[in-house]
Symmetry: C2
Subunit: 281 residues, 2 copies
């Protein structure tokens, strides 16, 4: 496995791969990898002869006061995990390789990004879309893979690729969970043992909604109330949002009469956790 | 010469050219071509084995009340001029090929776009950058050529390519003028015969600044005043801006102590004309 630190060298490598007829698959990450990331690497590998993982904690997608400085980092461990997973290139740029001091061009989205995490974290998705656009221009992937755990992000990337007509195919890999049901996340390491137990309330709330939906319930307010009951019974939980939205437009639904995304952002102590499930049409 | 109307066919053509080792040069236009555009085609041809011209009057770069509907169009004439100039492909998409009905992703710039035309036409450059990003993803050029006549636009495109790390080299071709000095523009056709004569005030103002600069004048206020005298003596002229700015950052200069752009936007009757010159460092 090669570790490439510069944009020029990364692009040169990808161009050579493509010239030799190998498809390039790409998994962008902020590092501190877990089995969720590795499942995306395997998806990329199924479709492409070459696989690139990027590791870059992107400053522009953190808001002032958020955990940019504290975000967990462990380069040696990430590198070893990528190598063991058969990754061909780990792209690991320095911050000034990605952003000039007088950087002034952004990519933004004006509709799907308004609600959910976009409402709680204004400017977050602008940072995400801008860095992903840059990474796509550096890595030049044929296929890029994102996780369903960050469902709104995945929908926004798909929208960006459609609207700006990037020559990239987007795949979305399913959520990977711990044995007890907690969605894997680099931020789970922030949880104390007690919080780790209470964090299961997210999965339990989604289980409850899925069961009610299976039993025929279609009223979004009642489905949502059933989730809130679980959070209200969890001392350390503070709900940022518990939303039932159209899975494509991310607009709130009153009735689940089409494919719906049930999306959660819940703080357990000071740690903000995401989880979601899709209710079929 | 091929005329290609769809993004998919355009991209397939470019990928084939590149696979066969031919560099793709690209000149994006809004049509109603003149010798200025053709000079950019020749620049592209000098550097590339294949040349693509796009012809698309981009609705998102016109503000409400501007001349989108009236913008001059003559497809047959443009097609013939491209063929005669040795263009390989004329990319001529329909509006719905470029913008989905629920299009919601934009590219914007937050510094260089604040002044000059960006101040007079808020949202204009967002439309320009967004459509150029799309065109780059469709045409996949190695080299793209823009005209110095739209100097702020050219600087913004260069900034976008740098900041979003597009794998495209940008060339800027010099202003092409009519025999009497008027900068060529598709909008010159709006001028009445009397206005056409008065439109020479832009070139005369730039000549005056160049002469004063050659004689040692470095004070921007005095250089600007000399230009304003000419416009004040031109009955149909209304100055939108007459600015002396840093040629890279586009920030106003008090003293011309580095490479400077002298940029004009002047209405002659209802027609807004641009012109500029660069004062060397």
């Amino acid at each position: 496995m090669r570790v490439i630190p510069t944009a020029d060298a990364m692009r040169a490598w990808s161009l050579l791969e493509k010239r030799e007829g190998r498809r390039v698959g790409f998994v962008p990450t902020m590092g501190y990898l877990h089995e969720g990331h590795l499942s995306l690497v395997r998806l990329a590998r199924q479709r492409c002869e070459s696989v690139v993982v990027s590791l870059f904690v992107n400053p522009t997608q953190f808001l002032p006061g958020e955990d940019f400085a504290a975000y967990p980092r462990n380069f040696g461990r990430d590198r070893d995990m990528c190598r063991d997973a058969g990754v061909d290139v780990l792209f690991h740029p320095a911050a000034d390789e990605m952003y000039a001091a007088d950087h002034s061009v952004i990519v933004d989205e004006q509709r799907l990004s308004a609600g959910l995490c976009g409402a709680s974290r204004p400017g977050h998705f602008r940072g995400v879309l801008t860095v992903v656009a840059k990474l796509f221009h550096i890595v030049l992937p044929d296929v890029a893979v994102f996780g369903q755990k960050d469902a709104q992000q995945a929908r926004l990337i798909q929208r960006m690729v459609r609207d700006l007509q990037f020559p990239v195919e987007i795949l979305v890999g399913p959520i990977v969970r711990e044995a007890d049901g907690l969605a894997m996340s680099s931020r789970n390491k922030y949880l104390s043992p007690a919080e780790r137990r209470e964090a299961l309330c997210l999965r339990r709330a989604l289980d409850r909604v899925e069961a009610l939906f299976a039993a025929g319930e279609r009223d979004a307010a009642r489905l949502r109330a059933a989730m809130m009951e679980i959070f209200d019974g969890t001392p350390s939980a503070r709900v940022d949002y518990a939303a039932i939205v159209d899975d494509t437009t991310l607009e709130p639904l009153a009735e689940v009469n089409r494919r719906a995304l049930v999306a959660l952002a819940v703080r357990i102590g000071t740690t903000r956790l995401l989880d979601n499930t899709v209710l079929p049409a």
